[in-house]
Amino acid sequence: MALADLAGKDRQNSFDEHVAADGKVEPKDWMPAAYRKTLVRQISQHAHSEVIGMQPEGNWISRAPSLRRKAILLAKVQDEAGHGLYLYSAAETLGVTRHEMEADLMSGKAKYSSIFNYPTLTWADVGCIGWLVDGAAIINQIPLCRCSYGPYARAMVRICKEESFHQRQGFELMMALAKGTASQKAMAQDALNRWWWPAVMMFGPPDGDSVHSSQNMAWKIKRFSNDELRQKFIDMTVKQCEALGLDIPDPDLKFNAATGHCDIGPIDWDEFWAVVKGHGPCNRQRLEQRNRAHDEGAWVREAATAFAAKERDRQQQRAA
């Protein structure tokens, strides 16, 4: 083995030991190329999900049923924009540029969470997103606060603090509908019927089919398997449904006394993969809207750039 290879092996070993002992990795530290690549993929996908995730809810801001609900929804959507920003910044510390990430999202090359390719047909869908989608996201994200990569972990701490209001406002909204008139309750049940399975699928493919899992566990990027997190979500949501008086749309759902968990019926993974591959109800619409928003915002970016240049010139003239 050449000397350079030996040094490389040493570096790799000390990195592995450091991470295995729950040590943190910071931007300028040496890291394996594959670790960097995995993080760039995961963090940028996560950022894209926050950004695209604004669309289904943004769709209801102008139609919120009261000023209170409108202010809440605006604040939530604004938070999601912030989450996107924290995450893009974390990804940038790994050497990828904001521009590259944006371009990959807009061209359709980069993925984002499939859940946002489902439509928000009624006001109750806004409740389901907060309660179920943000609820599932919290379960996914809490372990990420201990992720080995420092900037990602720190971004997740901020995000998790803000997410808890998202879930609670969603549950409160569902509660208002579920305890309301018969047609309001029916609307809540209909939304739950449509969001339940996509929410269950948010945790990704079953453990047996999950491609990146074991390496990501070793690298302390992932702490729990997809199925473990999914089970946590199911158990939690079943209890919440009881409080709401709504039914989970799964005839096979039952409590398993032997495991202490709720078992569910089969998940339609064909649907999951179809949506991932671009054939969900809203994939095209989401991408078109992101591109349109970017194009229509071009003049704002140009104006800001021109204004900054003018201010700089003025300052230099004053100094001269």
């Binding site: 938070d79 912030g82 904001r98 720190r154 970016r301 140009e302 750039t305 204004f307 900054a308 240049a309």
Partner: protein, 96 residues
């Protein structure tokens, strides 16, 4: 320079309340420092997290290199006499 892709990166530091130091909160891109400050306010202080903000262009920061960590910081490890716990004094003598 016309495109926002050339906007520099700014590091954002927030003082959460009077009496405390500014602490690094995150970073953002902006056309200039004024815009960085305005955006930092919107992104990092929406829940009263701050009473004062600093923004610094990331490129203006000089940082120590990870590979110099040993050289820079290890010498302090052997100087335990810089800590009060190094000294043996009788338990019953007060105000020490």
């Amino acid at each position: 320079m016309t495109a926002s892709q050339d906007w520099p990166l700014y590091e954002v530091f927030i003082r959460s309340r009077q009496g405390l130091s500014h602490v690094h909160a995150g970073s953002l891109h902006a056309a200039d420092a004024k815009m960085a400050l305005e955006n930092a306010r919107d992104v990092y202080t929406r829940r009263s997290e701050g009473t004062s903000i600093w923004v610094v262009e990331s490129s203006a920061i000089t940082a120590s290199a990870p590979q110099d960590k040993g050289e820079l910081f290890d010498p302090a490890d052997s100087k335990v006499y810089r800590h009060p716990t190094f000294y043996e004094v009788p338990d019953d003598v007060e105000c020490l």
